[in-house]
Symmetry: C2
DNA sequence: TATAGAATTGACGTAAACGTAAGGGTGCAA
DNA sequence: TTGCACCCTTACGTTTACGTCAATTCTATA
């Protein structure tokens, strides 16, 4: 059974033969499309974040999987753990207002935002400290005619 | 053989009986003084970052060890790996201008500074993205009378 | 002297998100 | 038929800086 020959895959328009939304892609194309490795996609699946169909043993990713992957990548970008992402996504219910999901997401987001701001503060701190000691080191290098070392004493 | 009774340890002024600089402290006090665990101190020693004297099997930290620990903690704070810290400290030579050490330190520092700035940029990015999606989620929560979910589709 | 408070050396465990083989299958073009 | 290009599962390895026992010993003090 054939789905998309690797060559013409990019030229794939809208087939829409399948009710669930056509354009099934295999793992290689999926990976290329989103800049991740095959291992990553399989890993996400293993962790319950993705659930592609199968043709025999071959994974086939649908539009839905792509949407989920986008969310995962966004989550990862803003610093959520995969566990968090999973928790939030698991609450998604196509029928319903998803209030719980949204609330949880908002809650986690607030906490994550706080973490990020803290991290930024730490990094700013580190940058300052580092800049200071760099200045000191430069000092010592320029006046290294006077042999007093004061770094490791 | 007794060194410092845990109680009066804090009231320890300058003994200076030993040529190498007195005020030897054991690991417990050392840890308390610098806010690290015993495990950490032993770990640093294991990695060749510290080299306390011994009284039998008991570690005794000198002024020199304290200075080194301070450096380690500073390095850690600005994001150096322990390996980096060790490399830099290993070049320290009490007799000499330490030009090599200083150059290496400066070199590593520049790279680390670049990494920190990159990280800050990433975090700023993340903060922005997160803020945006939070706004979107809030939107959806306020207008959740209209049951169109658009998060996980 | 009994006991509590330090210290010691091992040595396995942890976290996160994959990397990296190893070994094997399928389909298609030359 | 050979040879790629893909795909699969299983499973150990990686990284960093320690955490967490476990079993034992030392020492000071009441």
């Amino acid at each position: 059974m054939k789905f998309v020959s690797p060559g013409e895959a990019a030229a794939n328009t809208n087939d829409m033969s399948d009710k669930a939304g056509g354009d099934l892609v295999r793992i290689g194309e999926m990976a290329k499309k989103y800049g991740v490795t095959l291992r990553t996609l399989r890993f996400y699946e293993d962790k319950g974040l993705l659930n592609p169909q199968r043709d025999g043993s071959t994974r086939l990713y649908t539009r839905r999987d792509k949407a989920r992957l986008k969310l995962i990548l966004l989550g990862r970008k803003v610093g959520f753990s995969l566990r968090d992402v999973k928790q939030m996504m698991d609450l998604y219910d196509p029928t319903g207002s998803n209030t719980k999901q949204l609330r949880l997401t908002l809650d986690k987001s607030e906490k994550q935002l706080a973490r990020l701001q803290k991290q930024r503060a730490l990094i700013d701190d580190a940058i300052n400290e580092l800049s200071n000691s760099m200045a000191a080191v430069r000092q010592m290098l320029t006046e290294r005619s006077a042999p007093q070392a004061s770094v490791a004493r």
